[in-house]
């Protein structure tokens, strides 16, 4: 039996992806959410690599994985007095 490594890699990465994004939207702590977001973005970049689109992967890593989460962190930092606290009115974590 010929093992389809590509498929396996895709399934693994897809799982990471789904779990990571669920964590993003459900996490009470925003900074963590931002980190999980960075993770999902890198993961999805890897999936692009599977689809033989290395240039898009590069851009994805540079723009998304690098810049956007940093941007979000700055956003969080500027809208919270304390960065690590989760002080949302949603009632804590």
């Amino acid at each position: 039996m010929d093992v389809d490594w590509e498929l396996i890699a895709f399934l693994v990465l897809g799982a990471f992806e789904v779990i990571g994004s669920i964590l993003v939207v459900t996490n009470k702590r925003m900074v963590r959410a931002a980190f999980w977001l960075a993770m999902t973005l890198v993961t999805i970049g890897a999936i692009y690599l599977l689809f033989l689109s290395e240039f898009v992967f590069l851009i994805q890593v540079i723009v998304y994985a690098g810049a956007v989460p940093v941007l979000f962190v700055f956003g969080i930092m500027l809208t919270r007095r304390t960065i690590m606290d989760e002080a949302g009115p949603e009632g804590g974590p």
């Binding site: 399934l11 789904v18 994004s21 939207v25 692009y48 689109s53 998304y64 956007v68 979000f72 956003g75």
Partner: protein, 100 residues
């Protein structure tokens, strides 16, 4: 070769997760993050179809989408910063500008 159905399934799942974030979370920044996820779902589609059809224009669109997403994130954050400075909060249920 990864079957297209798998890829579409993944994309749909990401879309739904993002949609949940947009609709359910009240924190504006989280909403923005969810939007990023939705965008990534669609970009994934572009890339996948490009790969299957052997046409490079899907990748071009993907690049465009990335650029727009980045810009959109920046603008969105700026808007929330502005709102925060005027209203002291970015909780979406407290922001009622749209109510006339």
């Amino acid at each position: 070769m990864i079957p297209l159905q798998y890829e579409l399934l993944l994309s749909a799942m990401l879309l739904c997760i993002g949609l949940y974030g947009v609709l359910a979370r009240r924190n504006g920044i989280i909403v923005l993050m969810s939007i990023e996820i939705i965008l990534n779902a669609s970009i994934l589609n572009f890339v996948a179809f490009s790969s299957y059809s052997g046409d490079a224009s899907g990748q071009v669109f993907a690049l465009l989408g990335i650029a727009v997403a980045a810009a959109e994130a920046a603008v969105g954050l700026a808007v929330f910063l502005g709102i925060y400075q005027t209203h002291g909060t970015i909780e979406l249920d407290k922001i009622r500008f749209l109510k006339w």
